[in-house]
């Protein structure tokens, strides 16, 4: 009976954005750490595809130098996309998503937490690895830095957009392919500005305009998309 007495003494819970955010990020990271293989698979896919390109188009250093940033960006895009289907689907399938929606914490909090966790296990490793891949393509140090900076700003946008599409496609027929059809067209601006930053740097121009545009995109996405994701999750549970 002491359990009940203790509960009765507790104040009614107050939800908060921060508590929801840290709850979601801590839980998703814990789950990711239980199966580090999945994260490593995404990274391995990224490295593998980026390494296949030179074999496909030929090892001409000039050509590799030119296509390098774009190829690495497309690979990052596909790799970020790989881990999207399970972002909400696992919680949806085991009922956790219902619990999250009904929790006193405001939805944008834990939604942002989940997106942040997704970025930490997909976008961040790709950003860290990108200079290594850039070396394979013979990119210079300044270009490598621009590439990594662009990825650091751009991959969160991919996670945000991807989360919205992933929530929209919850419970839909045609899973992965449908998600590709929804998400990849929306990724276009990120791809253009991201690859543009490194290419401008490689061409001896400043990468700053591209990076600022990418940053503007990231700010707009961070402000707006979590709410779209919340709406999509609500629709999915209806």
């Amino acid at each position: 009976m002491n359990v009940a007495a203790q509960v009765a003494a507790m104040p009614p819970p107050e939800g908060s954005f921060g508590a929801g955010f840290s709850w979601a990020i801590a839980r998703d990271l814990t789950l990711a750490l239980r199966h580090p293989g999945e994260t490593l698979l995404v990274v391995a896919f990224f490295v593998l595809v980026a390494s296949l390109f030179p074999m496909g188009v030929g090892a001409d250093p000039q050509l590799l130098l030119r296509i390098g940033p774009g190829v690495i960006w497309v690979c990052a895009l596909l790799a970020a996309f790989l881990s999207l289907p399970s972002l909400f689907a696992a919680d949806y399938a085991d009922g956790t998503l219902e619990q999250m929606v009904l929790s006193p914490h405001p939805m944008p909090g834990w939604v942002s937490g989940k997106i942040a966790a997704h970025w930490l296990v997909s976008g961040l490793p790709l950003t860290v690895l990108s200079p290594l891949l850039g070396l394979q393509y013979g990119l210079e140090v300044a270009t490598l830095a621009a590439l990594a900076a662009a990825l650091a700003i751009g991959t969160p946008v991919l996670s945000l957009l991807g989360a919205a599409c992933s929530a929209l496609a919850l419970g839909a027929r045609g899973g992965g392919i449908l998600l590709a059809l929804l998400a990849l067209p929306l990724f276009v601006p990120v791809l253009i500005f991201g690859a543009g930053a490194a290419e401008a740097q490689a061409a001896g121009l400043s990468s700053a305009p591209h990076l600022s545009l990418l940053g503007a995109l990231a700010i707009v996405a961070t402000m707006g998309l979590p709410f779209a994701v919340c709406a999509a999750v609500r629709i999915a549970l209806d």
């Binding site: 919205a164 599409c165 929209l168 496609a169 419970g171 839909a172 027929r173 045609g174 449908l178 059809l181 929804l182 990849l184 067209p185 929306l186 276009v188 601006p189 253009i192 500005f193 543009g196 290419e199 401008a200 545009l213 995109l217 707006g224 998309l225 779209a228 709406a231 999509a232 629709i235 999915a236 209806d238």
Partner: protein, 256 residues
């Protein structure tokens, strides 16, 4: 006047059925006039020759493709905010027509590009964003039909449409920016002065496209309403007369 009077499916079903043929007739008349002006009245272009006449289908189709996406997103937003069944059905009904106009714009653009730029496809800002737009339409249609519960598809697709409409300008400007960095070769009409007949031809064709799009959407929304409300009383009461009243002769003889 009750604003939501026409938003009851049975009322709208009958209204749409009565209006659709007139929109098709208007579309045909306007298209005939537009083509007459475009091919007979309008003079040959000094720079491009006869081939510029593709403009009369290309530009209206491109306009329609973008307008229709916008209109579709607005219907979707209305369905989400007011939770009206009909708005979502309208959004669903517009999508295939929008995709068709996007396809026409891309296709005619390619066949205009070949003789003028020497290539079927250029990664030009307009054409690239038009291509992305086609994918957005496909995504919308696929998502709307991906669920067992049609209402669920309606709402998910509506939200996707809103995200898409916010993204579309960003896509356009990003592509334009990217393109200007790569190459400066974008053909425009700045060099040639547009003849007044050309403008009229384009305007008439654009109106024809509008009328056609409205007519096609109304016909499609009628099918959507019927399928969605198949178990309601008013549709069943429609039943005995349905094959005569709704279907055109010959259609009911289809297998099944």
């Amino acid at each position: 006047m009750n604003l939501f009077f026409f938003s009851s499916p049975p009322t709208f079903f009958r209204l749409a059925g009565a209006m659709a043929p007139w929109f098709f007739v208007l579309a045909a008349v306007l298209a005939a006039a537009g083509l007459y002006v475009g091919f007979v009245v309008a003079p040959t272009d000094a720079v491009q020759g006869e081939v510029y006449r593709i403009i009369f289908i290309h530009v209206p189709a491109a306009w329609m493709s973008m307008f229709l996406y916008f209109v579709m997103a607005c219907w979707g937003a209305a369905s989400l905010t007011f939770n009206t069944r009909l708005s979502a059905m309208m959004a669903r009904a517009i999508a295939p027509t929008g995709a068709m106009f996007t396809f026409i714009a891309l296709w005619s653009g390619a066949f205009w590009g070949r003789p003028t730029w020497g290539t079927y496809w250029v990664w030009d800002a307009r054409m690239t964003s038009e291509l992305v737009l086609l994918f957005l339409y496909f995504g919308f249609i696929a998502l709307a039909n991906a669920f067992e519960d049609p209402r669920r598809g309606d709402r998910a697709a509506a939200l996707l449409g809103i995200i898409g409409v916010v993204n579309l300008p960003i896509i356009y400007f990003s592509v334009q920016w990217w393109n200007t960095l790569h190459q400066g070769s974008s053909v425009s009409f700045k060099g040639t002065s547009m003849h007044i007949a050309m403008l009229w031809g384009m305007l008439l064709m654009a109106l024809a496209c509008w009328m056609y799009a409205i007519g096609a959407s109304l016909v499609r929304v009628r099918s959507v309403i019927l399928e969605r409300e198949a178990r309601t009383r008013w549709v069943r009461e429609l039943g005995p007369r349905a094959s005569a009243a709704i279907a055109a002769p010959g259609v009911t003889k289809l297998p099944g």
